[in-house]
Symmetry: C2
C-alpha cells in the first residue's frame, strides 16, 4: 500500500479536524496535513479523543508543498457534475475505485478534502490527478467533513476484512455421517432419508460453520444419543 495522507484544505470547525484525526487513527492512518486551518483548541482535542497524537503531529503546510511531494493527489468533491461535458470534475472515481487505483502506487498519495461550506475550489481540483466522489443521496448529498474522511479511510485502510476460519469439508463431513447415523437411531424412515440429508446439508452449508460450531453440534448429537440409548 502507498503512504496515504489526509489533507484538510481550509477547515472551518475545530471539531471536524479533531474527529478527522480520530477516524484516521481508527483505520490505521496517521499522516494528517492541515492547510489554512482554523485554530485548534480544547474542543478539537476532545473530538480527537485517543488520537491526540495524530492531531499534535499534523503537518501544517501549503497546497504547493503537497502537490510537489506527492506521487498522486486526489481531490474529493461532493459537487457532482454528471454531464460528461465538463472535464474539470469528470470522470470521477468512487472510493472503491480509488482503492483499486492506488493499490500498486508506491510513494505518497494525498487525499484532499475541502472546506465545510464550499469544498475545494476549481483551481484546487484542477491541479489534482484524480477526482473522487462519495456516492450519496440526491436528497442530501453533502456529508459532514469527518464522515467523508471516514468513508475514504474505511475504503483505503487496507485492514483485513473479515477473515475467520471456517470448518473445511474434511471437518464437516463427519458431522453429516453423524447426522445420518443419528437419523437411524431415531428411526427416521429410509424413504425420506435422502431428501432429509440434502435439506440438512443445505441448512448447514449456507450457515458456513466454524470448527467450534461443528464440534458443539457433534456434542449435542452425542448427548441425545446417550439419552436415547439409556432408555432402550
Amino acid at each position: 500500500m502507498p503512504n496515504i495522507e489526509i489533507v484538510l484544505v481550509g477547515p472551518l470547525y475545530e471539531g471536524n479536524v479533531g474527529s478527522t484525526a480520530r477516524v484516521m487513527k481508527n483505520f490505521g492512518l496517521s499522516h494528517l496535513v492541515l492547510i489554512n486551518s482554523c485554530p485548534l483548541g480544547d474542543y478539537a482535542f476532545a473530538c480527537a479523543s485517543h488520537a491526540r497524537d495524530v492531531l499534535e503531529q499534523a503537518d501544517l503546510c501549503t497546497l504547493e508543498e503537497v502537490y510537489n511531494r506527492s506521487t498522486l493527489t486526489i481531490a474529493t468533491t461532493g459537487e457532482l457534475n454528471k454531464s460528461v461535458c465538463r472535464s474539470l470534475r469528470m470522470p470521477y472515481y468512487t472510493p472503491t475505485e480509488v482503492r483499486e487505483l492506488i493499490k500498486d502506487v508506491e510513494g505518497r498519495v494525498s487525499i484532499l478534502f475541502g472546506r465545510e461550506n464550499w469544498g475545494l475550489n476549481n483551481e484546487e481540483v484542477a491541479q489534482c490527478d484524480v477526482v473522487c466522489t462519495i456516492p450519496s443521496s440526491p436528497d442530501y448529498p453533502i456529508l459532514n467533513l469527518s464522515h467523508a474522511v471516514c468513508v475514504i479511510c474505511y475504503e483505503l485502510s487496507g485492514l483485513p476484512r473479515g477473515t475467520y476460519t471456517l470448518a473445511t469439508h474434511q471437518e464437516i463431513d463427519p458431522l453429516y455421517s453423524h447426522l445420518d447415523s443419528f437419523l437411524d437411531k431415531i428411526d427416521h424412515p429410509d424413504f425420506k432419508r435422502e431428501n432429509t440429508m440434502i435439506l440438512l446439508r443445505r441448512i448447514l452449508g449456507r450457515t458456513k460453520l466454524t470448527i467450534r460450531e461443528v464440534s458443539t453440534l457433534h456434542g449435542l448429537l452425542r448427548r441425545a444419543e446417550w439419552h436415547i440409548d439409556k432408555k432402550k
Copy 2:
C-alpha cells in the same frame, strides 16, 4: 433491497444522534429508531442539519418491539473476539459481507448500535441474528458512534457506485486512426510506427476515456494538422 432501519440503543450524546440522522439521509436511509435515548435538544438538530426530518420522525420504541417486527437483526460491535471459542460474538461479518447477506432479504433489517461508552451488552448481542464488526486498527479500534453508522450506511445504501459513460471501442478506434495519420503528417519514421502506436494505445487504454475526452483529442489533432498544413 430490504427496508433498513438504524437502531441506536441507549445513545448518551445528542450530537451523535443528530450526526447519525444526517449521515443516514446522506446515504438515502430515513428510518431511525431510538431506544432509551438521551433527550434531544437544539444541538442534536444542529448536528442533523438538513436531516431534521429523520430526527423528527425517529421511532421511539423498545428492543422487544424491534426484535418482533424485524426479519433480520444485526448487532454491530467493536469488541472483537478473534477466538472461535466464544460463539456470542463469532463469527462476525464485515459491513461488506452484511451487504451481500441482506441483498436478497425481503422485509425489515434492523441494525443495532450500542452506547458510546460500552456498546451493546451480551444479552442484546445474543438476541441478534448476525454480528457485524467494522475492521479497525488495533491501536484505536473504537469508532465514534456516527462514524460507525456512516460506514454501515455507506456500505448498505445501495446507491450506484461510480458509473459514467466511457467511450466504446467503436468511438475510440477512429482516434487511433487519427493518431496514425497524424504521425504521417509529422514524418514519424515507419520503423518506429508500430511500437509508438502500441505505446499510445497503452496510455489511452488505461485512462478509460469518456466520449467527450475522445472528441477533444480529435479536435486538438485537427488544430495541429491545420497549423502544419498552413506552413507547407
